[in-house]
Amino acid sequence: MVRVENLTFGYSADGFRLRIPEFSLADSERLAVVGPSGSGKTTLLNLIAGILSPESGTIEVAGTVVSRLSDAKRRRFRASQIGFVFQDFALLDYLSARQNIFYPYRVTPALTLDVAAKDRAEKLATACGIGDKLDRHPSALSQGEQQRVAICRALVTQPKLILSDEATGNLDPESKGRILDLLFEQAAEAGAAVLAVTHDHELLPRFERVLDFAQFREGIQV
């Protein structure tokens, strides 16, 4: 699903440099990325998603070399092939839960909000236990419910890859496991791989593989 080779990237402002000789993620695999703050975990997600461009190296996702695409094509690719789940949920307070789930369709012409997409959103919401709360705004939902909405938004476009950036970071200990299980369950049903950044070591046993990211800081090899 994801293949990274000889990747280098740096922020000129603070001298941060990332170097990943090789890294891969299989289809439907669940991989946890751990490492100290500032080690470049989120940067990797942004590179894979095509939000950032590497200085050198190759990033291939679902058979497409993302690093060679133009900015417009990378945006279209991201909209159709990648789902994002954020630590702070990134829901829009002025939209209902239903409209938040449809948000990717509102901001990119690469996706069409058809009947099938609407049915999919309803089924996802029911599966995530928020089927009866779709007309509520985020401010009327608990944090767990908000993250469920975010998971539905990430999956409704049927992406091949889910990128999760501390998705459980803002949740209470009880909810963390449930939300992660839900994410895995829905991703598996959709046949999507999950690449999740986390600081929570209690959750690591739920992943198939764990990648310690500290090794990828400049000068450190796998």
Partner: protein, 389 residues
């Protein structure tokens, strides 16, 4: 459509903020339009009244006071002009003189004593009732009827000229015999009576019980039961014969005399006859006086325009700042949209759609307001002009 949908959702959810922005933007657009509409309507209304009154004869003094009293029935009191001046114009054969007497009021509205020629001259039609025909009759303007809630069959009582006017000016009760159709001019705010009725109010003419002499009492042909003579305060069929005037009508007063010359030549000749500054009277062209007043007002208006422009710029800057801050507050949303694959132009389209929606709603409100002002400008200006009388 998606950008518009999101923009509308955002504005609706943040309705209080949106409402404030819309109202401020609407005001910025509405105020200059409304001001311009009202001012241009005022200018037209003021000039129209002046241009419709070719010449005005009155005592020498302030031309503006004379014009305001004769055309707008204001509280200005130009020195009265004697009725012999009316006869002089008649005798010249150069035009038609129409005296107006505006010294008294009733219920806050000016009583205008005049002749029937005034109604033809101003094209005034009665909406109900009839015109003036008998001494004491009153015909009221449409605003008077509406404000006082009076109509044909009701009566009005004249008020004294002032609180200290205690020396014989008796209040006169006048039956309303007609109500004029609205004209959006000061005529709507006037109570019209025959000029002789105005003189009765002034005390120049009056009616009272028969007076007996001491000789008649001594001879036994009459009996004096009471020394006081009862003055009539209402003119009726029974007592109208007793009303009479003391002195020569040539000396009776009018506030001014509207003069309608036969033609341009007659106008020139008439004006020439009153050029001598030693004469106690003057003949003026009200249009010129009003134009001078309007020019003065519009010089002030240009100052007002500058102030309005400064306020509009400040308000627009405040709205712009509010919108800019709103965009800054939405940086997270924009970042999310980018991560979800939003095209570069989408964010701009979204912000443009919000601004467009705000301006569209504000523009619609301003347009509705401007339409209302435009449709009612004449009536409102008429009312505003009457406020100053």
């Amino acid at each position: 459509m998606n950008a518009l949908y999101l923009a509308f959702s955002y504005l609706r959810y943040n309705w209080a903020r949106s409402l404030v922005l819309v109202l401020v933007a609407a005001l910025i657009m509405f105020v200059p339009i409304a001001t311009q509409t009202l001012l241009s309507t005022s200018e037209r209304a003021l000039l129209a009244r002046g241009e419709a009154t070719p010449l005005l004869l009155g005592s020498r003094g302030s031309q503006l006071d004379l014009t305001m009293a004769a055309l707008y029935f204001s509280e200005e009191r130009p020195d009265p002009v004697a009725m012999r001046e009316v006869e002089t114009v008649w005798d010249s054969g150069l035009g038609v003189p129409i005296p107006v007497h505006t010294a008294f009021s009733s219920g806050g509205f000016r009583i205008v004593g005049t002749t029937l020629d005034y109604f033809d001259f101003r094209n005034l039609d009665t909406a109900s009732g009839r015109g003036l025909s008998v001494l004491g009759d009153a015909v009221i303007g449409s605003d008077v009827a509406e404000t006082l809630g009076k109509g044909v069959g009701d009566t009005l009582v004249s008020a004294p000229e002032n609180l200290f006017d205690l020396d014989g000016v008796y209040p006169l009760e006048m039956p309303i015999v007609g109500v004029l159709a609205p004209t959006n001019t000061p005529d709507d705010q006037a109570i019209f009576v025959d000029i002789k009725t105005a003189w009765v109010i002034q005390g120049i003419g009056h009616g009272h019980e028969n007076v007996v002499t001491a000789d008649e009492v001594a001879a036994g042909s009459s009996v004096l039961a009471n020394a006081a003579v009862v003055q009539y305060q209402r003119i009726t069929e029974d007592n109208i014969e007793s009303f009479h005037f003391h002195g020569s009508q040539d000396d009776f007063p009018a506030s001014a005399v509207i003069v309608v010359p036969n033609d341009t030549r007659s106008s020139t000749v008439l004006k020439g006859r009153y050029l001598d500054s030693e004469l106690p009277t003057q003949l003026i062209e009200p249009a010129g006086v009003i134009q001078g007043l309007v020019d003065r007002i519009f010089r002030i208006k240009s100052l007002l325009d500058v102030v309005t422009a400064i306020i509009a710029i400040a308000a627009a800057a405040a709205v712009g700042l509010a919108v800019f801050l709103s965009y800054r507050l939405r940086a997270r949303e924009i970042a999310t949209a980018v991560k979800l694959g939003a095209q570069k132009g989408m964010v701009l389209r979204l912000l443009a759609a919000e601004t467009f929606t705000l301006l569209l709603v504000a523009g619609s409100i301003a347009a509705i307001g401007a339409t209302i002002v435009s449709r009612n400008a004449e009536a409102w200006v008429g009312w505003l002009l009457a406020l100053g009388t």
